[in-house]
Symmetry: C2
Amino acid sequence: MADKTTRERIVAEADRLFYERGFELTSFSDIADAVGISRGNFYYHFKSKDEILDAVIGKRMMSTSGMLEEWESQSDSPSERIKDFIRIVVTNRAQIIRHGCPVGTLCSELAKIGHPAQPQSNQLFVLFRTWLCHQFVLLGHETDADSLAMHVLAFSQGIALLAQAFQDERFIRREAERMCAWLDGLADEVRV
Amino acid sequence: MADKTTRERIVAEADRLFYERGFELTSFSDIADAVGISRGNFYYHFKSKDEILDAVIGKRMMSTSGMLEEWESQSDSPSERIKDFIRIVVTNRAQIIRHGCPVGTLCSELAKIGHPAQPQSNQLFVLFRTWLCHQFVLLGHETDADSLAMHVLAFSQGIALLAQAFQDERFIRREAERMCAWLDGLADEVRV
DNA sequence: GTCTATACTGAGATAGAC
DNA sequence: GTCTATCTCAGTATAGAC
């Protein structure tokens, strides 16, 4: 963190604050304070708040791509890879209960306020959707791979939203297991 | 609308605007303009913006209770009643694609900004949760009724969130059908 | 009850010194 | 590159006339 450029530090803190407080309610002062620079200095690096949002989304796109590639290379079966995805909600349960899903809450907020960066934030969903779709094709579900990918994605979003509302960790675990069991049933279908 | 009191008109317009634009981004001016009164007049009826939010949530609680009671009296089987719930996402698809789920987006926003009215908005979820739980008990799933209720609730939230992001009406229909089929499978389990 | 006028605050953004 | 000072605007909220 210490040897990062100021720009990188701004993006990192904005990334965190946009997740924790939401985009609208994070002010320049909030980010400036977190980074430890003055508000004025800000505009040397970014022309507007929207430009910071673009950078934050870009950063999230990069890290998400990296994570998906890692799953692709580490797990050997597509069904294990899909489970890697399902298990994020369990792994990140503490943060999800506090602040929701980083992707879902951002897309939801930008959609509601009609923000111009909406299509870009949706690309984060597209990243997961495409990857999951690919895994389902490998599983032998060529015809409805995309539909299944959307199903898994919807599920994870529903879990995250309700887990936050009810502050319920056990609910996350229970639903993740249910989803994994459903996936196993799906894999059996193909074998038969 | 014409013969409603000013207070009722304020709550009605605030209800609509909070749904369409979100709570934070709806200003007093927005509501005042929509109602057709001056901003000053506002404070005769409500002391603050938070007080309007309380009134809006109260109104939604009333109308939701009414809807659930209606389903309870009209459909004869619990499984048909749960399907009534599942079908809301299809019935309200146009609005959901534009603005998301009224309950989910409000709870999500209030949770993110740490608003004091968060527990009250969550009561809207509790209303559905309790009602669904009751239906699953009637279906013969006494032991895991609440878990199933949360499952259905999570599903509807996931559908609403992704439908808004991807602006996809067919996805809503497809997932609602999938959920109904799952429910039929569940009812068969009990019969056997 | 409803209005106009206005106070006060914090937001995003700019200018210019260092 | 970073700072301070400042501008502008929109938001919530209040005071007081009608």
